[in-house]
Structures are given as C-alpha cells and as structure tokens.
Homo-oligomer: 393 residues x 2
C-alpha cells in the first residue's frame, strides 16, 4: 500500500506510549497534562445537559455551522478581555479542542520545507501538528523571561524560509515559564519587521497563581498578525473538546476553510452545554476554585522538590499553569531515569520529545494538577531518592 | 500574509452559502442532508447523559485515548455485522463525524497531484476534503447499478497517478443510487489488480426502505484494501459528531497517526453517551422508526414528483438514504432555476458542485428526510410549477 509522504514525518508520540504505562492503577503519575477530575463541575453539568436538551434538544443534536454557536462565541469574546483583547463573537471560530487550532495553523500557513520558529523546548502536540505539514523547526533559546529576542532575531535574519512563529507566552508547556511584557512587545516588533504570523497558544493563561495577568500578544498586535488559540480544557473540562481561534477576519476565514472539510463543525451539544454553563453558573468562580487547588499543589511540589532533590538539579518556578521543568546535570538521560522511577511507581515525561530537533535528554516535565496532595509528596520523595542515587554515582 | 499553497484548492462551499439562504423561517428546504430533528431521541438522551455523568462523570469529562472508548468501539464492530463485516473493537477508530474520516483518508493516502477516482457525481464533503490535499479527480460514469466498471478500468489503465478510489455504494450522495453485488465484486477485483486502496463511505447503509442489505465492499475485501467509514449522524444524531473508521491494522495505525495531531481524540462524553444509549435502549428499534418515516417521505416525494414534474425530467428512485437526484434537459441551469424556486420559497442544491471537474449544471439534489409530509407535497408542487414554466419556454 502506498501512503502519503507526510506520514514519514509523523511518528507515534513517545509521550502517548509512556502515558499508557502510567495508567496502571498504583502509579503516581506526573506525566500527563490532565486537569484534576475531582474538580469537574459534574452536578452542574447534569443540570445543564438536561436543560439544553429540554429547551433546545432538536437544535443541540442537529448539524450546525462551521463557525460555531454564536452565543458561545460572544461569551468567549467577552472572556478574552482578561487578556486585554477586544473581540466580537463573529471573530471567533470554535474548534474541537485547541489541538485542532494548532492543526489548522499548519494547514493555513505551512508548505513542505517551510520553517516554524518555536521556543526550545516547545509543546509536543504543536510540534506533531506542524510536522504533519512536512515543515522544519528552528528552536529559539529561552530564559525566565521567555524567548530570548537576540537569538530570535539572529535566526529570523539568517532564515528567510521561516513562515510561522509559534509560542506559549503564559505558563509555557513544558517549562512553566512566562514571558515578560518587554519580550512580548519585542516579538510583535520582530514579527512586523519580518512579516510573519504568530500563533499564540494560550490554554493556561487564566490559571495564574501569583502576580497579575499580562497583556496577551494578541492584545499587543499592531498589524493583525497574531492568531490566538484558547481552550476550555484547563478551565472547564477537556473531555468535551472545545477550543477556539481568534484572529483577523482575513485569517479567520482561512481557518474556517480549513475546518469545513476537516470535521464540518464541533459538537453542537458540547457548545450549547458550555454556553448554558456560562449563562447559569459563574465560570470565574469555578476557575478561582481550580486556582486555589492548583496553587497549593504547585507549592507542595516545589517545596518537596526543594527538600528532596539533589542540589545539582535545576527546575522552574512557574507562576501558573500545570508544569514544572527539571534540568539534570548533563549526561543523565531522563529516559533511563524514567525506567528506575517506574520501578518505584512514579512517572514523568522525559524532556527530549519537547525539542523538535532532538537532544536535551537530561530534562523532564512534571505535572502537578492531576495528583492529590498526598501523592505529590509521596511521588516527589520517591523521585528524589532515585535522583540522589543517580547523582551520587 | 503568506498562506499555504493548498488554500488555492480550497474554496468556501457553494452549498454552504445556499444553506444559509435556506435557513430563513418560511423556506421549504430540500437542500441540506439533515435528518429529521423531531425523531431525535431527546428523552432518552436526557436520561443517558445524567446516567453517564453520575456513574462516570470524572472519566466522561477527562481526556481519553485517540482510538476511542473501547466499549463503544466493540458495539460498533458488532453492529457492522449487518454489512457482512466481522470486526473487533480494537480495529475501529472513533472519529469526529465521518467527515473527519474523509479528511484522514486524504492525509494518509494523498500527495499533491495524485488522482482520486470517484463516482460522477460524488459527495461534496469528500471532494472538499481530498482537494485540501491538492489532488486531482477522475470521475467515473454511473448507472442504476453503480459505477460503470468498463469506464473505471479504462481510466485506471490510462492513469497510473491514481492513488485512491472513493465510493458510496449504498444510497449514494447525491444520486441515491445503490451498487449491485456484481459491481461491488468487480471493484474489489480491479482495486487488487491496480493495487489501490478504496474508501467506502457508508453513512446511509442502514436506512434501506426496500429490498435486502447487500454486502459492503469491506465484507468483499480480499486484500485488506477497503477503509470503511461509518457514522452515527444519520442513524442517531449528527450534532454529537461521531463517526468511525474500520480498516486493516496497518491502515488503521496510519489513521490514528493522522488523528493524534488533528484533535487528540473525539469527545469522551459524546462517546460514552452513545455507548450508554446502545446499552440501555434499542438502536435497531430507533432505526426502524426512522426508516418508517423516511420511507414514507421518499414515497411522498417520488409520487408528488411524478404528478407535478414535466415528463422530460429524469430522476432516481432510491431504495434508501436521504436523496433523490434530478436531471433536467440539457441547457437548463439549476442555479438559475434555484433563483426562481427561491422566489416561491423552495430550496434544493444545484448539482454542479457534486462534479469535481465541473459541468452538469442541469442537475440538482433533493433531500426528503428533513421536511414534514405537508411541506414535501407543497414544496414539490411549487417546484413542479417552476419547472413546467421553465420547460415550456
């Protein structure tokens, strides 16, 4: 059987295989990026689904438009004010999770051999989505203030084949880092200079535990180059697969063209459910509850790391989001470490997969949103033991 | 802004623009392909969603695997026995509507300039999906027994760039035609000879009003070349966006690779809802109810056409599905006709868009599943009046 060339670029995700292992019942898993299921608003969802079916069942179960359910799009537009964005409902496209927005970004902007600029490391789901369009990657170094602009500009100047800049400025996956305002402004300036679109991936932006929300890139966008990707997965629940794209009319039209043949539209029922939830309950209040729990879990994980990890190990101190990023001394391979840690029933994601061009095997990602306080302390202690043995070798 | 080359191949669907017109409240629309919303099992859905949320809310609202919810996949495998197929749950991939299966068929099999063989005319959603992979089309003539095999073989022989055969053997969209067993067997023979994969699109197969179900192409497949696409949109409801792919292990693995970066997975909640519906209610019984109503609507539309359309007009007599296909005398443009029919508040889809290489403007498609008996009679009468004036010119 002959397959398309693009398949040569598409491999089964390494994380996926690891996540399968971590689903064994007694594993303490810091591997996935899953929200805490005990915080899902299940009682509210029961009331809401019945209400939607009673009041508009025939509509909720029928085909609907590719763009999405307008009342939901209007509520999303309103919600993005948090990020300094003034949008209208009609400027929003509903997607089947923000993963679909990433796929469409590739579909709309990338030809084979084009180059995508991304943070080093970057989100695996975005890397896979772009790879399926047979592109290449240039990774730009980051520090605690986000992407290093001198490195970015050097790369933009040297590589005219760059066609897209992909970044996660708030609580980045996998590092948890947040960009400073100065870097955000500079990125917009450089995108203008080099005439490039920016994909701003923002699934975690509302989950800030310290400090103030900074303006999104989209809020700073002076030439309508920024495509903002949002998601209900982390602030509500991921199982419904609801995300959105906000962009200029011209760009959004292309994303709508990408969605039509991809899946016609996102579940009408799911859209009407989330819309009804936002009408009948307080999503802000729900997010406050999440933040309280996740902030506590982050603190607990950071404190336990401080107590138990060897001093040679560096790790990030995220102001929000779901992840801590760990750097081991060079020469220690996190994949090998994972084998030892799995013997102690603790899982994480080795960091190599987050670097599209490879290397950096001495890194790994920890998630703190999905495990209880007790498991966080116990799991990090066990991991600390493994690391102490490894480092002292 | 620079966009990907593929966008040059992707245009806003003409039907979509027409469908917007037809949503005005007093239009009698035979344009869409929508099921009857009054038959959606709304009461059952209310009970089911509450049950799913009560029993497994944390699971239903969480991330899940790309392949889909295994109990649902097992029920689908079982259900396909109707089409002579012996599948296992693990050989099924759940998709976000069968439209997504069509998109993945392009993603898995097509490079730019490759040729797709399809029926002439063919399903617009498939044409759009394949076009987004920058392919070309060869249309094969059909008669009342399906694709004409002599025409197909001639084209296969002349065009080694053919990479995919796409067909809808049961109650085709847009013609309503059903392939004979002989043609099905011959297609498999030719696909084997020319070493080609076949996409068998089967959203309507269960909606047969006369005669017996014929074996699907997948049931006749001797070399694992057939990819079967199924859907809950017509037998349950389309608003949840649930379809599936059944193929050999090798091919299915590629489809899973296509789905991972596209949308991670289909709504966990929707999958568990349909699974619970099939566990707690009788989907066969539901389909019997649909068939009773749709058979009656088909008969009513055919009878009213017979009474009111001019004799020069040909149309199909589908044994199932949702559509009747109308051929006008050459020289009459169905797009122009549509304007006149819209003045009388009646809508249909002009047929030109169903031919990927254009032409055939003297055709149109009628849907009979979405309008009440009264509207079918009234709408077809009005359309008959318009046609009589047009023909007598």
């Amino acid at each position: 059987m002959k397959y398309a060339n693009r398949l040569e670029n598409m491999k089964a995700s390494e994380i996926r295989e690891i996540l399968k292992l971590t689903q064994l019942p007694d594993i303490i898993s810091f591997a996935g990026g899953m929200p805490a299921p005990e915080l899902f608003p299940i009682e509210e969802m029961k009331k809401i689904t019945v209400k939607v079916l009673e009041e508009s069942g025939q509509k909720a179960l029928q085909y609907s438009t590719t763009e999405g359910f307008l009342p939901l799009r209007e509520k999303i537009a309103d919600r993005m004010k948090k990020f300094g964005i003034n949008a209208k409902g009609e400027d929003i496209l509903i997607t089947s999770g923000s993963q679909q927005g990433l796929d469409f970004a590739g579909k709309v902007f990338l030809n084979p051999k084009n180059i995508v600029i991304c943070e080093s490391p970057s989100y695996l789901g975005a890397i896979s989505a772009f790879k399926s369009y047979e592109c290449e990657f240039l990774e730009v170094a980051t520090d605690d203030d986000g992407m290093i602009m001198e490195d970015l500009e050097k790369k933009l100047e040297a590589h005219p084949e760059v066609r897209l800049i992909y970044v996660i400025p708030d609580f980045q996956n996998p590092t948890g880092k947040t960009w400073s305002l100065k870097r955000r402004k500079k990125l917009i300036e450089l995108a203008n200079k080099y005439d490039l679109p920016i994909i701003e991936d923002n699934p975690y932006g509302e989950l800030r535990y310290d400090g103030e929300i900074l303006p999104s890139l989209k809020a700073l966008d002076t030439e309508e180059r920024v495509v903002f990707l949002g998601s209900f997965s982390k602030i509500f629940c991921p199982g419904l697969r609801l995300g959105w794209v906000y962009a200029s009319k011209e760009i959004l039209e292309k994303f709508v063209l990408a969605k039509q043949p991809a899946d016609a539209h996102t579940s009408t029922m799911a859209q009407m459910e989330v819309n009804a939830f936002m009408e009948n309950y307080d999503l802000d209040h729900h997010v406050e509850k999440l933040k309280e729990v996740y902030k506590n879990r982050r603190d607990l994980m950071l404190n336990t790391i401080k107590e138990t990890f060897p001093k040679e190990i560096n790790y990030t101190h995220p102001e929000g989001g779901l992840f801590i990023w760990v750097e081991l001394p060079k020469g220690i391979d996190a994949k090998e470490l994972m084998k030892k840690s799995l013997e102690k029933k603790v899982a994480f994601v080795p960091g190599g997969s987050f670097f599209p061009n490879g290397g950096n095997e001495n890194t790994f990602r920890l998630n703190y949103s999905n495990m209880t306080d007790e498991k966080i302390v116990e799991g990090i202690r066990r991991l600390g033991e493994v690391l102490n043995i490894e480092i002292s070798k």
